[in-house]
Amino acid sequence: MNNIVFGKYIPLDTPIHRLDPRAKILAMLVMLVAIFIPAGWTGYVVLALAISFVVKVSKIKFKVIIRAFRPLIFMMCFLLVVNILSVKQGQLLVDIGFVKIYADAIFNTLYIIIRLFLMIMLTTILTMMTKPLDLTLGIEYLLGPFKRIGVPAHEIAMMISIALRFIPTIIEETIRIMNSQKSRGVDFEEGKLKEKITAVVSLVVPLFSVSLQRADELANAMEARGYVPDAQRTRYRRLHYVRRDYILLVGAILILLAMIALALFL
């Protein structure tokens, strides 16, 4: 439990941290599109190299990023099995009674897993290296043009930033409540079904109660300070693109173009 790192912001001062959040979000979107272009193995090698380069520059240990995958291993295994058994194309490799495994099944599955891996890696890098506040500021700016067609950009950004702000708090709270209940003899790992249910209830009820209380307090605090969601407001911090942001965007777009070229001409 102490090792939940899934996208938690890591306060460092690296070139990646200093980039404009809008540039990071846009670059990530471009890269996500690039991942979905079927550019074969060469394409994946290019993408993996590019992403590894970013990780290297960010100074975050590779181990830490890999750990973010642990909760997803189960899902990946499930996907693997379903996929391997359902695709029926290409050369027949294994044939034991009703289990038939084809060559294409293996390749397809590998593709999917690599894609998932790269996608999660990208989003994890984004959230690990961007302050939650910057992230929401970026989202608000990017949604700005859609205000005219009725998208509540500010409210969405505020909601996201509150949610992001409270994730670590809730994790901390969860650990604390689990520890208190362990001291009272609850075993969260083993036990019969009935004991398991009690264990979960003993965690979830206080967690909800604390979270609701927190939400209430936060709402009061915001109102007490005169917060009105749709008020006209100016900003203390304004975002400006500088050269490194353009470099990032151009880099991402070049990679996307390279993927398209690979997909078309190979």
Partner: protein, 282 residues
């Protein structure tokens, strides 16, 4: 049930760039049957230290021995339940652990988990609630709609109902009114004197330490500065000064009186002081 820390260190998020060494190289023995106060500034590692007593944190290095339980870094300790039955831990924010529909059920939750029958658990819960000063009118109330101080009492009762040999309390009096604080301290002293429980008390209140503790452990930046008898600790002016510890009022008063030439050795309570000054208290 001797408690012994040997070269124990704990690091939070060891693989991260922001890894923090919360406590380091703790060598400490806590005496059986006494009240030991752990004091130190905010962030000095008190809560981190005591969570090891229930193996909720496992040391990054070093060992902790509690009677025949040994807790080290490298393995999943066995017999955790037995350990937690022996060492009861009341958390710093213990009011957030309540969850049952009624206070009585909530307090009975611990004993039930440790294998007591329903009736026995309820009987223990009633006894524990009596000890912390929550009378029958509270039994059927929801633990979620009582005041903060009452929640804290209920949480303390939840541990007392398990009847552990060692009771560890992290800031048990924070958020209680002065009277409630007094009652709680009297309760801990009684548990110690009458039932011979070993009590470990984390607190920022030096008045409480002076009044109730036998021994004091001072932590600073995750290290043990000293461990000594509570009374002699507060007599050591140089030590107090160098660690910016505010002396209890009675010590201050004694200082003032002794400056005026009075002889006041071996006087540790208001009552004794009153007698020494010529009053006839009881």
């Amino acid at each position: 049930m001797a408690i012994k820390f040997e070269k124990l260190s704990y690091i939070y998020s060891p693989d991260m760039p922001y890894a923090t060494k919360a406590i380091s190289d703790i060598d400490l023995e806590i005496s059986e049957g006494k009240i030991t106060a752990i004091i130190g500034k905010t962030g000095s590692g008190k809560s981190t230290l005591i969570q090891h007593l229930n193996a909720l944190l496992l040391p990054s290095s070093g060992t902790l021995t509690i009677a025949d339980f040994t807790i080290t870094s490298d393995k999943k300790p066995k017999g955790l339940k037995a350990l937690r039955r022996k060492v009861g831990l009341v958390f710093q924010f213990s009011e957030y652990q309540l969850f049952e529909e009624t206070i009585l059920k909530d307090v009975a939750f611990g004993p039930k988990n440790f294998g007591f029958s329903e009736e026995e658990a309820i009987a223990r819960a009633k006894e524990a609630l009596g000890l912390v000063g929550l009378d029958e009118s509270y039994y059927e109330r929801s633990p979620l709609d009582i005041s903060g101080g009452q929640k804290r009492r209920a949480a303390i009762a939840g541990i007392l109902a398990i009847d552990p040999d060692i009771i560890v309390l992290d800031e048990p009096t924070a958020g209680l009114d002065p009277r409630g604080t007094k009652e709680m301290i009297a309760l801990f002293s009684a548990l110690n004197k009458k039932l011979h429980k070993t009590i470990i008390l984390v607190t920022h209140d030096n008045e409480i330490v002076y009044e109730s503790a036998d021994e004091v452990v001072l932590l600073e930046d995750g290290k043990v500065v000293c461990k000594q008898d509570a009374h002699s600790f507060f007599e050591d002016r140089a030590l107090l000064k160098s660690h910016a510890i505010i002396e209890p009022k009675i010590v201050k008063l004694k200082d003032l009186l002794m400056d005026k030439g009075l002889k006041l050795d071996n006087i540790y309570s208001i009552q004794d002081l009153a007698v020494a000054l010529g009053g006839n208290h009881e």
